[in-house]
Symmetry: C2
Subunit: 203 residues, 2 copies
């Protein structure tokens, strides 16, 4: 960031008075350009026993598999964003059944909100952001060709819950370590505070 | 927004190729200035039978009462943001017990994440953003002088759950109507899908 959005003058990085963080501040009009984390919303869209996965037609991670998900837009709710992205990327109309996972990615300043949803209809070809869309079951998911660690961990929780016979709500952080990333559980609900639940979520 | 952050040229509002929304696009370098919703994170900080409320020393809503909460910063998690804001505004150190409410405000493009937390210690005077901090119980809360509808609805859920003897997770939207705002429940969990629960959440 080099120039002020408001007056076009140069900006500088400094800590404004009364603040304690470096901000982009205009040297002429003093406007402070705050930058904040973005929300990525998406769905685990269930179609019978299978779920919809999309193969990415765009960078980053071209050709790898993902859940339909994308940046929440101004003026919409997280649930609306998840439903819209599922329509755009998988061309599927869904009805959301609940919030399933809330995952922080502090190293890229993103928060993922993954909902569970039921597919009402799939309307032909996928959108331009997907090479293909496939309804897959656990054994047919390309586990070694998933686009993002958030997708890997959300799907692990999903199948773990499914085997256990009950879907929970999963909150935590995806922490980057080298080329990989691990999940660290954060307190989501009294049930998840049980030592067994927290231990099993560290993987 | 008038000028490009990157090259300083004029921006225009148009729909970029392959997009379907109006964006701020640079007329010279083509950079697209996306704008996305912001996350506000805060705590219902429990101190015995009471919770901490802050009286705002800043605009908007100077002099009105609020939960300690503020904009999540880049590089932190939502839980870290809630704990930090509680430290800054109420000068209280807390331990989070769980996510309590996730409230969308599409008319201002914000998402509130309210956590429940236990106060470990209160360290003297409140921060510069608060005129005063008080531990209050349900009957002493200034219900007609709360700063934001998110705070009102979060506190209503809190005391309703407390009377019922169990804390749930509340997800929904705060929709502006005239001078007021009402809460509309969105599907959060199978339990909240029970007709009685949804009906009681519309208020």
């Amino acid at each position: 960031m080099n120039y002020c959005n408001h007056c076009g003058a140069r900006i500088e990085r400094r800590i404004p008075e009364g603040d304690n963080r470096l901000r982009e501040v205009c040297t002429a009009c003093g406007y402070i350009h705050y930058q904040n984390p973005k929300i990525v919303a998406g769905c685990i869209a269930e179609w019978g026993d299978r779920i919809l996965l999309c193969r990415r037609a765009i960078e980053p991670r071209y050709g790898l598999w993902t859940l339909p998900a994308g940046f929440m837009e101004n003026g919409e709710t997280a649930l609306e964003a998840a439903v819209r992205e599922t329509q755009e990327e998988a061309n599927a109309r869904v009805e959301v059944t609940g919030l399933f996972a809330l995952l922080n990615l502090p190293h890229v300043s993103q928060v993922y909100m993954i909902f569970r949803a039921e597919v009402i209809a799939v309307d032909g070809e996928p959108g331009p952001e997907s090479l293909e869309v496939q309804p897959l079951d656990e054994t047919s998911i390309p586990w070694d060709r998933l686009a993002f660690p958030t997708i890997l961990h959300a799907l692990r929780f999903y199948y773990s819950d499914r085997r256990a016979g009950a879907f929970g709500f999963h909150m935590g952080d995806i922490i980057k370590n080298g080329d990989g990333a691990s999940f660290v559980a954060r307190r989501a609900s009294p049930e998840e505070l049980a030592p067994g639940a927290i231990a099993s979520a560290h993987r």
